[in-house]
């Protein structure tokens, strides 16, 4: 358990998130095939390959801001629909408040993720309830803040955030899509989880696991 999150913790978190996507990419594509174009799993896989590459290229003694910026930029470079810009903006947005920080406490960690969420929101008007990745991301980030306010350490906060993301993703099952390709199939989008929300849930699951592996 960590009281603070350093750059190497983040790398472990990212790698665990990569592993989650790798294990579940077929499910993600299947989810995207109801109403979407069925490519979300493969796009996320390509995005995660870029994350791994960015980690490697950031080098030996990375700084957190550079790491997050490079990861975000690399994900942006993935040609393919919504995923690149949305997930890319998440990480790039996270990098700004990490400037000059080697280790983040729970409150700072929440601040970093809040900046990431804000940056995603700049690129979509989707709100909670619209059946997009916002449905998983927004509750996860809110949970991080609440846990920090309640005095939780980053590990516990991330565990709670992962649970919130999972619940948020699960809730999308009953929703009708109002953004993304699935919007076109209207009420037929009801009955399956949103693929992007499922991805966010997996990523937070990875973060929670990755940070614990440092225990």
């Amino acid at each position: 358990m960590s009281a603070t999150i350093g750059c190497n913790d983040f790398i472990r978190m990212l790698r665990a998130a990569i592993a989650q996507i790798e294990q579940n990419h077929e499910t993600l594509s299947r989810l995207d095939s109801h109403g979407g174009d069925g490519d979300h799993g493969s796009t996320m896989r390509r995005a995660m390959a870029c994350v791994e590459k960015a980690i490697a290229e950031t080098g030996e003694s990375p700084d957190l801001k550079a790491l997050l910026h490079n990861v975000g930029w690399a994900v942006m470079g993935v040609d393919g629909g919504a995923t690149g810009p949305l997930f890319g903006m998440l990480f790039m947005g996270m990098s700004a408040p990490a400037a000059g920080k080697a280790d983040l406490d729970a409150a700072e960690l929440a601040g970093v993720f809040e900046a990431g969420l804000a940056s995603v929101r700049k690129n979509t008007k989707a709100q909670v309830g619209d059946k997009t990745l916002i449905d998983a991301l927004a509750p996860a980030v809110e949970t991080l803040r609440k846990e920090a306010d309640a005095g939780a350490d980053p590990t516990r906060a991330l565990e709670a955030a992962a649970a919130a993301a999972q619940a948020g993703a699960a809730a999308t099952k009953e929703m009708q899509a109002r953004f993304g390709r699935a919007k076109n199939v209207k009420e037929k989008s009801i009955g399956n989880q949103d693929a992007g929300a499922a991805s966010v849930s997996l990523i937070f699951r990875g973060f929670a696991k990755g940070v614990q592996s440092n225990g």
């Binding site: 919504a82 690149g84 690129n123 076109n184």
Partner: protein, 333 residues
């Protein structure tokens, strides 16, 4: 049926096609940076540059319109997938000039997101770029709230007139104004009779029943009638043209441009029949067919069908439409 395409490694498809494209058109275009398409002879720096982005697999669009009188740079993405922001901002930085840049974006989710990120970056870098979004597909959304209207082949007249204005030495604001006037005065509707396959994955993109056609590819055919029995050239032209004239509220005596874009396996022969029918219907309504153009400008692989785009023209737009250009996919003397 299995996909029958001449390709090599699907992962290298876009790069290979760009290499061949540049080779076939080496007097007009060349590749630069990371799969960017630029003019063989760059336009002088004191003129506004036109930049666009878009998925591949729609050849000759969009890179086929790079050249004198039209685009300066095109950023092709993967098959059917918009390029991510890094390559686009690279293109914008390379095309940067005091005269400014016009950034032509077709309204598709990925393209718009990528463009928005890039516009944010360009602004913070102090680059002088303005965006024109094309969204003229009348099968979804409305003229009042066009956010759901996709950008189809209407990008071509927009690029043509804005490119001509830029070539003439118009300012960025003037180029933008021309592009916006064109954009606000056009409407497109698509009809499909057969599906296509994704050339990299082999996935079937869409299917149409054996005796049917789909007018308005919006899933519910909000305009144009949706899925219906395959009709004659005359009848299909009438259905589509009426929907377009209606949407654009074209009045007797007005002048329009009609652009027919074959999307794949539909023949030029058929498109000529459709144009003939369009002309007859327009005559009956007292609308003037000022200009027309028929060809394959923005394709969707081997899909059967076409897009009909109409645009209300004024004298300046006609002049810019007629202005010379020299690109791989469109040459006007």
């Amino acid at each position: 049926m299995a996909m029958k395409k001449f390709i090599n490694d699907p992962d290298n498809l876009v790069h290979e096609l760009l290499e061949g494209f540049a080779l076939a058109n080496s007097s007009k275009v060349q590749l630069a940076g990371e799969n960017l398409v630029v003019r063989a002879k760059p336009k002088s720096q004191d003129k506004v540059a036109l930049v666009t982005l878009g998925g591949s697999g729609h050849e000759p669009a969009l890179s086929g319109y790079v050249g004198e009188g039209m685009l300066d740079v095109s950023v092709p993405g993967e098959i059917f997938a918009a390029p991510g922001p890094p390559r686009v901002i690279e293109a914008i930085r390379a095309a940067h000039r005091d005269a400014g840049m016009l950034f032509v974006v077709l309204n598709h989710a990925g393209d718009v997101m990528s463009a928005n990120v890039v516009m944010g970056m360009a602004e913070s870098e102090g680059l002088n770029v303005k965006q024109i979004l094309t969204h003229e597909d009348i099968s979804a959304g409305s003229r009042e709230d066009p956010s759901d209207r996709r950008g189809l082949v209407g990008c071509l007249p927009v690029i043509k007139v804005a490119g001509a204005a830029a070539e003439k030495g118009c300012s960025l604001d003037e180029c933008l104004a021309v592009a916006e006037r064109m954009e606000h005065n056009m409407a497109t509707l698509a009809v499909a009779v057969s599906g296509a396959t994704h050339p990299a994955t082999g996935d079937v993109i869409s299917t149409v029943a054996d005796d049917e056609m789909v007018v308005g590819m919006g899933q519910h055919g909000e305009a144009g009638g949706g899925t219906q029995k395959l009709a004659t050239a005359d009848k299909t032209a009438e259905i589509m043209l009426n929907a377009l004239l209606d949407d654009l509220k074209v009045k007797k005596g007005e002048k329009i441009l009609v652009l027919l874009n074959g999307v794949g396996s539909t023949t030029l022969m058929e498109l000529y029949l459709v144009l003939r029918a369009v002309k007859r219907t327009l005559k009956g309504k007292g609308v003037k067919l000022a200009r027309s153009i028929v060809g394959e400008f923005l394709t969707v692989q081997e899909m059967g069908g076409f897009q009909m785009c109409i645009a209300r023209m004024d004298d300046e737009l006609i002049d810019l439409w007629d202005a010379p250009c020299n690109t791989p996919a469109l040459v006007v003397k």
